[in-house]
Every structure is written in C-alpha cells, then in structure tokens.
C-alpha cells in the first residue's frame, strides 16, 4: 500500500507539469503562420475568401487567444479534447484510432531494447576490457550513431524489396481481411522492421547504462562479502549484482518514454504506420491545433503513466524507497 501512495503522490505532482505543457504549446502555436483553414484550403485545391471566413468562425478561430485558451482548458477538464478540423471528428476518437499502433510499436521496441540491452550489458561487464566488451561497446556506439530513418529506409530496401521477406510498410494487410491469429501474425510481420528501427538507439543506450551500472555494483562492498561467503561468480551476479544493477535501468525507462514517442514520429512516417507520431507530424503540418494539443495531452499522460509504473517497479525492487518516503 505504501508504494501506491508514494506513486500516487508522484502522479499528483505531475499534474502541474501537464498543465504547463498544454498552455506552453497552445501559446506557441499561436505564432505559427497560417491556420488550419489555410491548410484545409490547400488540401481542397482552392476556395474563396468568403468560405474561409465562415470556416474560421465555425472553428472558433476568430475569438481572442485567451478566450480560445480558456474554453479549451474548460473543455479539457471535462476530458473533451475538442473537435479536429482536418479529420472532422472529435479529437479523442481520432487519437484512440491512432493509439494502438503507437502503443504496440513502443512496447515492442522498449521490451526489445531493454531485454537485449540487459543481456549484452551483462556480457560486456563480465568480460570487461576483453574482446566481448570492446565488440559490444563499439557495436552499441554504432547503433547509437545510426540515424533511425536512414536505418529504416535501408532496411526496407534490403528486407522488403530485395529479399521480399517483410512488408515494406503499413500496419496490416488491408486487402485480404484476416481475422484472429492470422491477423496477429500479419500485424507482427508489419511491425518487425519498425520495432528494430525504433528500438536500435534505445538498445545502445540501455546497453551502455547496464554495462556502467554492472561495473559500478561489482565494485561495491557487499559483492566482496558475497564472494567471501564462497559464492561462485555466476551466482554472485545473478543473486546479488543483477537486481541492484537494474535500478538505473528501470529509472531510464521513465526518462526514455518521452524520447521514444518522439522517435516514433520519424519511424512511423518511414514505415507509413498510422500512429500518434505521424498524426503529430500531420497535425503540425495541417495546423490542427486541437489534435496537436490532444496528442501532447495523451503523450504526456502516456509518459506520466509509464513513470507511475516505473515508480511502482522501483519501489518493489528497492525496499529503501518505501521507508524513506
């Protein structure tokens, strides 16, 4: 129970952060040249000034900025994210449509990066300064340095065009409506390359953090005690070192959630996945303020809930936390 109240307090503390973000982005977008009606006109291929003025009135763009902000926040309190002008639907439903691909992509890449980061980190730390360590560390740096969109493009050229193993893009095969397990396989095959692309940089980061944290913990006094008790090296690592070394990795998940969502903007546009990332890009390009703020709101919630879960895991892992709070 202690853990819940601790994490609950953390959640409450992030409400001001959320409001700060929303107001900040809202004001920032007021300076953008052109508004959503101009974007609509661009798409419609023309339209006269009269229709434009009427559209602006319809979307409430003619009110003063504070008024617009005021009624936006008032609606937000009632969890109504407003109306999306480019999709002609409430923002909430647009985002709900686009949420599953992003959530799937993020969880897949996060677990891929975390798992392999952990495994390679441990191997590197165990064989420190020997060839496995240098190989893994340099590979990590190379992955870290690869621009994700470039890796994605090259992956498409190699895996889906020349080798024809994996579909080049999209979330699922639309032509033939598969159901049940086949649909899962189909979506999975569509997500392999994007997960690899998005996960790569985070794999490099987790790898480095795990190696450093392992080296740090291997150096602590109680590991010397464990050795003095006669434990062999593998049991020392599994029973004592691993759990402590995991702590910085877990906190990292919280910090990375935001950057991962940012990364998905690029990956989703390379693999034409209908996710939140691309929706964010389109709503910035289409000047659809409501949708963009909706995305900011949802991604902030996403990051905060990820941090909430991270706090829970952390508290469970480290008994010292509950006592201190």
């Amino acid at each position: 129970m202690r853990i819940l109240s601790l994490a609950g307090r953390r959640l409450a503390a992030s409400i001001p952060t959320l409001v700060l973000i929303l107001i900040g982005v809202f004001l920032l977008l007021q300076f953008a040249p052109g508004d959503t009606v101009d974007a609509m006109m661009a798409q419609m291929g023309g339209g006269d000034a009269a229709t434009a003025k009427e559209l602006r009135k319809f979307y409430g763009l003619d009110l003063s900025i504070p008024a617009q902000l005021g009624n936006y926040l008032w609606r937000l309190v009632r969890l109504d994210l407003g109306f999306s002008s480019i999709y002609g639907k409430p923002v909430a439903s647009v985002i709900l449509e686009r949420l599953p691909p992003t959530i799937l992509l993020m969880t897949a890449s996060l677990s891929f990066a975390f798992f392999f980061g952990l495994v390679f980190g441990v191997i590197a730390a165990r064989g420190v300064n020997r060839w496995p360590d240098t190989l893994i560390s340099t590979l990590g740096l190379v992955f870290y340095a690869t621009p994700s969109f470039w890796f994605g493009l090259m992956a498409i050229v190699v895996f889906s065009v020349y080798l024809q193993w994996l579909p080049p893009g999209g979330f699922e095969d639309i032509g033939t409506m598969r159901t049940g397990i086949w649909r899962v396989f189909d979506i999975a095959s569509h997500l392999v390359l994007p997960t690899l692309t998005l996960g790569l940089i985070f794999l490099a980061i987790y790898l480095r953090i795990m190696r450093a944290s392992m080296l740090e913990v291997l150096n602590l006094d109680y590991v010397r005690t464990a050795r003095a008790k006669g434990l062999d090296e593998t049991r020392v690592v599994t029973r004592h070192v691993l759990r402590n070394a995991l702590l910085p990795m877990v906190t990292l998940i919280g910090l990375q959630a935001g950057t991962m969502l940012g990364g998905s903007v690029v990956v989703e546009s390379v693999f034409s996945l209908p996710g939140l990332g691309r929706l964010a890009y389109e709503s910035v390009v289409q000047r659809d303020l409501n949708t963009l703020l909706g995305i900011v709101f949802v991604s902030a919630l996403l990051v905060i809930s990820v941090n909430f879960v991270v706090d829970l895991i952390y508290a469970r892992l480290d008994p010292r936390i509950t006592a201190e709070a």
Binding site: Y222, A228, K229, N244, A323
Partner: protein, 540 residues
Amino acid sequence: MSEHETILSLDRLSVRLPGGADRTHALRDVSLEIASNEILCVVGESGSGKSMMANAVMRLLPNEVTIDNGRIMFEGRDLCAASIAEMREVRGDGIAMIFQEPMTALNPLRTIGDQIAEMFSIHTDLSKAEINTRVLSLLADVRIPDPKVAAKAYPHELSGGQRQRAMIAMALALDPKLLIADEPTTALDVTTQAQILKLIRDLQQRRKTAVMFITHDFGVVAEIADRVVVMQHGVIVEQGAASDVLHHPQHAYTRQLIAAVPPLKAPPPRALAADNILTISDVSKTYRTGGFLGRGARVTPAVKNVSLALPRGATLGIVGESGSGKSTLARCIVRLIDPDTGSIVLDGNDWAKMSREDVRRETQHIQMVFQDPFASLNPRRKAAELVAQGPIVHGMPRAKAIADAKELFALVGLDPSAGDRYPHEFSGGQRQRIGLARALALKPDVLVADEPVSALDVSVQAQVLKLLAELRQRLGLSIVFITHDLRVAAQICDLVAVMKDGAVVEHGLAGEVFGNPQHAYTRALLDSIPGGAFAREHKV
C-alpha cells in the same frame, strides 16, 4: 582438535602491486602463525598492508594485484596454489571474514535472514526449514534483539551495531576454523564498539575459533589481543604476546605508535581567564524533513536548549557519540545552520539574532576547521589560494593575501613554497594544517574545530594536536573542540561537556569530568574505552 594447534601459517608471503603505485610490494616476506582458540591482532597505520594480507589469505585481491611468492598454509593445503573451486569451498566454510563498513557490507535489497541462509544453501544441503531454525539460533547467539523480526528486516532498517552482529552471525554460520575481522569496530560508536568486542571475545572462546583481528587502535589491541603483530609498509616489524609488545615494545616504530596514543589521564589544568568570550544560552535546533502538506513529517530534535560558556583563551571540548547533536551545535555557533531558539553571544553581540548578511560581514571573528581532510579543500584550487580566499573575500588585495598565506604556511609547519601545489598532492595531516591556516588567515577570536583529527592516523593525530596547543598558546586562541574520542578530548581540552541525544548531561573541568564522572552516561562512555588500564596511563 588440541588446545593450540596452528590453523593458519603464512611463510614469507609477498604481494606485488601494479606499476604506478607508491611502492613495489604491498607485502614483503610476511611470516606469521595463528593457532586455534586465539585472537591475533594485526596492528599498523593505514597503508601498512594489513587489509591486503587479509584479502590475500581469502584470495580476494583486486585482479592486477598478485601474490608473487610465499605460501599460505591452511589445513595442510597451500591456498596460493589452490584452484578457484577449492578456494570457493574454503571461503565461508573454512575461513570467514567480516568487514569494516557495516553500512555497505550487506546487500541492501535482500533481508538479513535471506543473506545468512545463503551461507547454508551454498555449503550444505540442509532443508529450508532446518536452515531457518539455524539462522534464528545464530541471530540469538549474537544477541540481536528479537531474531524473528531481524531476520525479515532489510539492512537499512538496522543500526550499525546490529548490522555488524548480523555480519558476525553470517561469518560464524558454518563454524569456520578461522575468522578474519578487518577493522570491524572502527566505524562504530565507542559504546557499540565495546559490546561488539565483548561479543567477538565471547564467541571466540566458546567456539575455540582462531581470529585474525586487524585494527589501527592500540586500545582495541590492549582490550582483546592474545598475540600482536605490528606492521609498517608491508613488513612485520615486531610480533609477540600482547602484554610484552604493549608494555615492552622492542622496535622503535612500535614505541613511537604507542607513544602517539593519547592517554585518558588529563594533563594538569591550566589557569582559565575570568571573562567568557563566548556564551551559549539554551540554544536548540529541530530538523523537520519530508512530510506532505505538514502531515507525516519526521521531526528530530537535534539540539535541546544547550547552555555553555567558553572562557577567553580556553578550549571547551564537546564530546558525545554520533547523533548526540555535537556537530549541529558547532554549525549553529558558526551560523552554517540557524538555531531555532537561544542566543550565542560573542564579544557582546548575539550571533543567533544577526541577519545572514551581517553574519557574512562579521564572519572573521569566528572560523571553523573541518573533519575530512579530503573533502574540506576545493580540489580545483592551489593551496596558497585556498588560504588567501578568506582575506580576499573581505577586501584584502590579492598579492598581500597570498604573501600572508605563505607566512601562515610556516606558522602551521608547512613548507611555504608548497603554496602552488594542489590539495591532492598533500597528505591527510598536511591538508588539515592547510585547513587550519585558512581558518587563521582571518585572525579569528574563536576557532570551532569539528573532529579535526578523527580522520587521521594516530601518529599524525598527535602532531596536529601538538600544533593546535602551540598555536593556542602563541595566538591566545579560544577553541570549541568537538570530538567523539574522549582520549583526544582529555589531551587538549580545559573544559569538557558531554552531550547525549541533543542535551548536555555533564560539563566541567576535564580532569574532574574524566577523574570522577557524575552522570551514569559519562561513566558508561569512559568504561567503553578499549584497553582498560593500558588506556588509563601507559608510560613508555
């Protein structure tokens, strides 16, 4: 197993250090023997190689430090040549080890019971239930209050002393033939230290184990040792029965070490001035941490209305264990911390009521010397600059301040030309002298010294104390001296105040307080000082 059968014998053991270290070998031709049912104390200053020897026996040396010759005979087998697998059997079962820092020697994320049970699960194939009962009996054996609760507790939920008891329980789980204790009580309070020493003595006699006890404190040697080995720079300079070595030391180094240990008997009292330069009246300070909107805050009263007076030119000692509030009081005097109530009158004006800005301007009247030689000097600044900082801040032109600093170097016994070296190029003792010079640069009326010598080796400690006494005489300094070591207090303080849980339980002339203590706590403190009669007055 007969009464005095040799358990462990080192035969001309040498351990080589990696290139770039300050000397080629950590240990050179070390030969010694430990018999069962005996406590062998290995004593020496830091850097003498005593801990390295313990690690060598357990083959737990850092991987670029290697044993390059000699033999370690244990149960008829040479451990130097033993394979990793063989060593694994010996560790924990044949030879057990306990360490100095109780805070970090236990895995913070696993319960005490779990870590002790691990000893059994590695070396024996007892069932879970059996292991549990063994753990509980062990905890009882080391007299930890309420073993069931302790078994389930995490390390951070226990006090320093209890954690050390848990370590001992873990070490003795499989009834090892040899127990190596690497300065197990150095980090503990003197009262807890006394209990742990008694516990080790008691367990050793009951189980007839051989104990290699490593320490730098001769009091502890006097309290517990059967035989003594004195080490310097990796070489054994002297070994023999405890009483012989303590009372008739043969080697010059041993004699010098023993002489440096301050005896408990206070020197004859000095004449004290009539007027008080500093009067502290019912100062108190309470820490309020954490808590959410007022609820659930943890309130810890650190200082509870303390009243003391410091005569001009005298030295007031404030002694007490950790957590007694003595350093909080010191920081209140210097206004690093703002006291909640009470007044601190120095030469007429009340420092407790002054605004921060005023304190900043008037600060040259009262200066402070800190405990940790490594942390109290900014590593990025040259020594001369450090000393000259104070005057420069108060407007003295830089060149003059640096010149004054050079003079002060001489005053505190340092080579003036060392001014442009960086702190990491000085030894612990030299750094404390720089700290002292920095404080004296502003020509303060009162000097507050917070455990100035606790982090130093005994011999260096003696020199710094001698320096402090000379300066007091020459500059007419009044000093507030904070320490947990009553022997040091006895040497240098005119007046002594004993603090417990934030309050002063007893204060008066040093001779009287140590001669016939009134308060029960003072008496307990005095009794816990290891070495009994030896500590009282040892003449060499």
